[in-house]
Amino acid sequence: MMSRYRWTLLKQSQQWLVTRSDGEQTASLETTAVPHNQDPAACSEALASSLLSAGYDGSGVLVVIDSLDCLAVSAAVDESVMSGGRNAVIYELEQYLPFPSEEFTVDYLEHSKSLFAVVVKTAEFQSLLESLENKGVFVQSLVPSALIVAQFLWEHVQESRSENGEADHALLWRDNGRLECVLLDQKGPLAWHALATEMNALCQMLEAHAWRADRTVVVHAFDTDLMSSHDLREHSRIAFRAMDRPIVAPVDADAHGFARVAAVRAADEILSGKSKPWIDLRRGSLGSGDFCRPVRRSLRFAMSGVIALMIAVSAVFWMRSQQYVAMAKDFQSRQAEAFHMVLPNQKVQTGFRGRMESEYKRLSGLKGEEGEMPHRVSSLISLYRLLHSMPSELRFRFLEMRFEQDHVSLEGQVRAHSDADTIAVALREGGFRVESPSTQILSEQGVAVRMTAQWSDRP
C-alpha cells in the first residue's frame, strides 16, 4: 500500500531538514531542522524522532546530501574498463580521487567514451545510515541534492532540448550561496560543478567543453541575475536562456528556497516511482545490506499471506483426514458386521478379511469349491445304475460284480448266449459303454457270461 506522505532528509550546510510532502504541488512543505554537527547516533536519534513526530509510517526515505559532501568526476574511460564492471570502474576512478577506493562509495553514468561519477566518503554516512536503519527508518536512496534538482529541471527544458538537438545543455541555479551547474547531453549528466558565484570561471569551463566536444552549449539559467552579472557576448559557443522557475507556490522567491523545494519535489517524484535518480549512492558500503529492504512490506504481506494460506490449507487437509479416518472406521465396523454375520461364533476383533479368506479357503477345500479337488465316482452309484438298467423279463444271475468307481466287471449265468447280448443292450441303454460279452456253455445247464462296462457319460 502506498504511503500518504513522502519523506526526505535534506542535508544543508548546518542542519538536516526533515520534510514531509503529500506529493501535491500546492501542499505545504513541513520541515524540521536537526543540527548535524553531532555524532551519527545522536543525529539519527534526532532524525528518527522528528520523523516519528511528523507521523512517519516506515515508508522509503530519500536522504539528499549537500553538494559539498560529494566529488564529481568526468573522465574519459576505455570501453574495456567499463565492460569490466563496477569494480574495474572504481579502480579506474581511484586515480582521480584523493583517497583510496576502499574509502569511497561511487555511482556513475556511462557515456560512449567517458563516464560521469559521483563519489562520497563512505565513513561520513555509513554510521548515520546504519543507525537510521536500526531505528526503523527505511533509507531508500542516498542522492546528491544538485543532481536530483538537475533531474527535476531537465524535464522542464524539454522544449529547448528539442530545438537544439545536437547541443549540450547546462542547467544553472544558485543554492546556498553556491553556483550549481550540471552539464548534460541527451543521455544525461556529463559534468557537475559547484562553484562560488564566479560566472566568468564557469563560462570558461563551458566554453572549453564546447570547443572540446565541438558542440554548442545551451545554458539554462534559473536565476536571471546570473545572466545580468556577466557579459555573455564573450562566449561564441554558449547560448544563454533565462528560464522561468517551474515551481511557483508555496516557495518563497529567494534562490535558497527554490533549490530546496526543487530538491523535495524531485525527491517526491523519485519516491513515488515516477523517476529513478541518475546517481544513487545507496550502494556498496553505504547499501542497506538487506536486499529485500525495498520490498520488505510487500514481502511481509506476501509471507503472511503464504502462512495464512498454508495454515488454512493445512486445516482443510486436517479436516479431510479426519473424514477419511471416520470413513476407515466405518468400513472397519462394516467389515466386523459382515464377519460376525457369517462367522458368528468367532471372537475376532481385527484382521477380518484375512480370517474370512482363510475360512473361505477352508470351506472351499472341504466342500470342493476349488478345482483341484480329486474327482472320484462312488461305486455305489455304479451299482445303482447297473441294477436300474437290468432287464426285468430276463432270467439271469450274477455270481460276482466288481465296481471300481465307474468301471464294472460282471460274471454270471444266463440261459442262452443271446441273453448276454440282451443284458449288454440293457446296460448300454442304462448309460454304460459295454464291450461284447464273452459267453461259454456250462457243462451243466446254462451259459456263463463275462462282461465289462464303463460309464459312457463319465462325469
Binding site: A315, F317, A328, Q332, F339, E359, P374, L380, Y384, R402
Partner: protein, 184 residues
Amino acid sequence: MRIPNIPADRSIRLLLLGVAAASVLFVSSWHRMASSRCAAIRSSEQYRQCRRLAERIRVLKDRPLRASDSLQTATQLARALEEAAQSVKIELDQLIRIDSRPARQIENTPYQEQPTYFEVRGVTLEQLVAFLHKLATENHGTEVVDLRLSSPRSGGIYAKDTQDCASTETWDAEVTLTSLVFNP
C-alpha cells in the same frame, strides 16, 4: 528510540520461521491426509472383499462337505464301521476284516486320501447298500471306490426260486472306502 510498527529484519526472520513452521504443518497435514486417505481406500476395498467373501462363505455353508479336515485313526474308522453296520442290522461277526491303510498325498493337490479296506459276509444287497450309504453320508469325504460282490455258487440259472430264496439272497462284499482329507 525505535519507530514502532516498522517492519525490521527480525520480522522478516520471524516470518521466515513462520513460513517454515507453516510448511512443516502443511506437509505433515498433507501427509496425514494422504495416509488416512490410503487407509480409507484400503479399508473400503477390504470391506468390499469381506462382503464378497461373506457371500461366498454363505453359499459354501449350504453345500455338503466333500472332504474332512482331519485324518481318522484306525479306531475311529473301526468304530464308524461298526456303528454303521449295527444301524442296518449287520452283525459285528459278519464284518470280518477291517484294514486301515496309511494316508497318501494326492499329487498336486492339497488333499490326502485315506483308504480303508473291509470285508462283510452274508449280507443282503439292501443291507449292504444301506450300510455303505450310511458310511458315505455320515463320514464326510468318504466314498466307496472299490466294491466287489460275490454270491455263493449254489444252484443254477434253471433252479426254481422260492419265496424264501428270494428274500435271503446274500452276498459277500469286499469294500475299499477312501476318505478325502483337506490338508493344505
